[in-house]
């Protein structure tokens, strides 16, 4: 028995991918390709001819976010994907764009989508975009609110506003995305994230 050892990207412990020796395999990697493979949209040897206009810059960021979404689309509900796209389109309306603002940073968008795939389930957050292109998601349940800013490198900042009797309780923190639910546990996060 032999196995491939790989480190998963999402820090849930080391996992081994087993490869059983069998008679069916051939090792065929070649340095040169006799036949150039049929390429496609995910090829990385193309670049957009940028005219450096604001509209082109916004379009490129938006398109990159949508193209990346296709890589996880088979794990997403189509209605959820379309809703995120509509919100992204609205957030990137070139006619209402403030000079100096940045379009969405792909890494913060990826962080948000990965959270939704693992813990966000079918919840329906509203999205907002900071001036430097960082994506923020807002969940509301009655008068209670959860706001999470999805930053780069698997980091999140969160703010909770909970109504307890006549009082409003507020809390905030910074953590990694995969520890967000653990941080939010005292505030019953399922009321936001399990909302259908």
């Amino acid at each position: 028995m032999s196995y491939v050892t790989i480190s998963p990207a999402y820090g849930r412990g080391k996992t081994r991918l087993l490869v059983r020796p069998s008679s069916g395999g051939q090792f065929g990697l070649r340095v040169e390709d006799i036949f150039k493979p049929t390429d496609g949209a995910l090829s990385d040897d193309r670049e957009q001819v940028t005219g450096n206009t604001l509209a082109e810059s916004i379009f490129e960021s938006l398109a990159n976010a949508k193209i990346w979404t296709s890589k996880v689309a088979m794990h997403m509900d189509m209605a959820n994907r379309d809703r995120f796209f509509r919100q992204l389109d609205r957030l990137h309306d070139a006619e209402e764009w403030m000079e100096g603002d940045q379009p969405v940073q792909l890494e913060t968008y990826k962080n948000f989508i990965r959270f939704m795939l693992s813990d966000g389930r079918d919840s329906k957050p509203s999205l907002a975009l900071s001036a430097d292109g960082v994506l923020t998601a807002i969940w509301v349940a009655g008068t209670d609110r959860l706001t999470v800013e999805f930053q780069r490198h698997n980091r999140v900042s969160w703010v909770v506003s909970n109504t307890i009797g006549p009082n409003v309780e507020r809390a905030a923190g910074i953590t990694s995305t995969d520890r967000l639910l653990t941080n939010l546990a005292p505030y019953e996060p399922r009321k936001w994230l399990a909302t259908k």
């Binding site: 050892t5 069916g24 193309r46 670049e47 398109a63 088979m74 795939l117």
Partner: protein
């Protein structure tokens, strides 16, 4: 002749719990086991295709005015148009020489970026990203655009047709071990002295002379995009370069033939556990 679940084959022999099929005038031999529990069969509800590509290359460049006319006909069919350049480098290390060539291209895409066509000086390339809506939808768009191309570009026979389907199989990383060979039927035969390797990658080419096709299959572990999953690619590229047709109907028939081979190779490359992943 009968349908063995992978297409119409000739039944050669019936064994205990299995049947052996072959396709006359072709390369295919198929061993089908009579499993008490039927694994899902295509079309799958959640196909693992992350990108489907059809590429048609012509021996000569399109006339500039005809290419402009074709692009103007494509514009209303897509939501956006983007000018691209594909950069090709020719490097000769012994002469300390590197030459770069920019090939201008135009990409037309749907608003969600999943449907696109890239028009090059001498070729056309259609792509469909996930979620894959099925062959009929993809082929209908290709046929629509190809009809326009044949009319406005006045093109003859292509020099190459490629059909590439890139699949990514995402396996939930539950527990300590995920058995790779449970999902892919084509494996690397490691000697017992090598008990562990980091990642894997294989690639092979196989000719199908009677079909006039050639296939390149590749697989490798890739960085997972989905949390708590392990991922590996299964990339199937079917290529036609001989005696290619010029008219629309014959081109579409040719694409159908390539698709049949691509599907057979895919089904031969995966196991039932993978099929179950595609049909949750």
């Amino acid at each position: 002749m009968e349908d063995c679940g992978y297409g119409i084959f000739q039944l050669l022999r019936v064994g205990r719990g299995c049947r052996l099929f072959a396709k006359p005038d072709s390369w295919s031999v198929m061993l089908v086991t009579d499993s008490p529990r039927q694994a899902p069969r295509p079309p799958y509800s959640l196909p693992p295709i992350i990108e489907a590509v059809i590429q048609i290359v012509y021996p000569d460049k399109f006339a500039a005015s005809r290419a402009d006319a074709f692009r103007s006909k494509l514009s209303p069919l897509y939501d956006s148009k983007t000018d691209l350049k594909q950069v090709t480098a020719h490097i000769e290390p012994e002469r300390r020489k590197a030459e770069f060539q920019d090939v201008p291209q135009t990409r037309f895409a749907s608003n969600d970026q999943t449907d696109a066509i890239v028009v090059s000086p001498d070729g056309l390339l259609w792509t469909r990203l996930a979620p894959y809506p099925g062959w009929d939808v993809f082929a209908e768009r290709v046929a629509r655009d190809l009809k326009l191309a044949i009319k406005h570009l006045s093109i003859g026979k292509p020099s190459r047709i490629g059909m590439r389907f890139i699949n990514r199989i995402d396996v939930p990383a539950t527990g300590d071990v995920v058995r790779y060979e449970d999902y892919l039927a084509i494996n690397i035969d490691l000697p017992p002295q090598i008990s562990s390797v980091d990642n894997y990658g294989w690639r092979f080419e196989c000719p199908f002379p009677t079909l006039g096709l050639r296939a390149v299959l590749q697989s490798a572990v890739v960085e997972p995009e989905v949390p708590s999953h392990l991922s590996f690619l299964l990339d199937i590229d079917v290529i036609a370069m001989n005696e290619l047709p010029a008219d629309l109907d014959s081109m579409l028939s040719h694409l159908e033939k390539m698709r049949t081979l691509k599907n057979e190779l895919f089904e031969l490359s995966i196991r039932d556990k993978a099929r179950e992943q595609f049909s949750r």
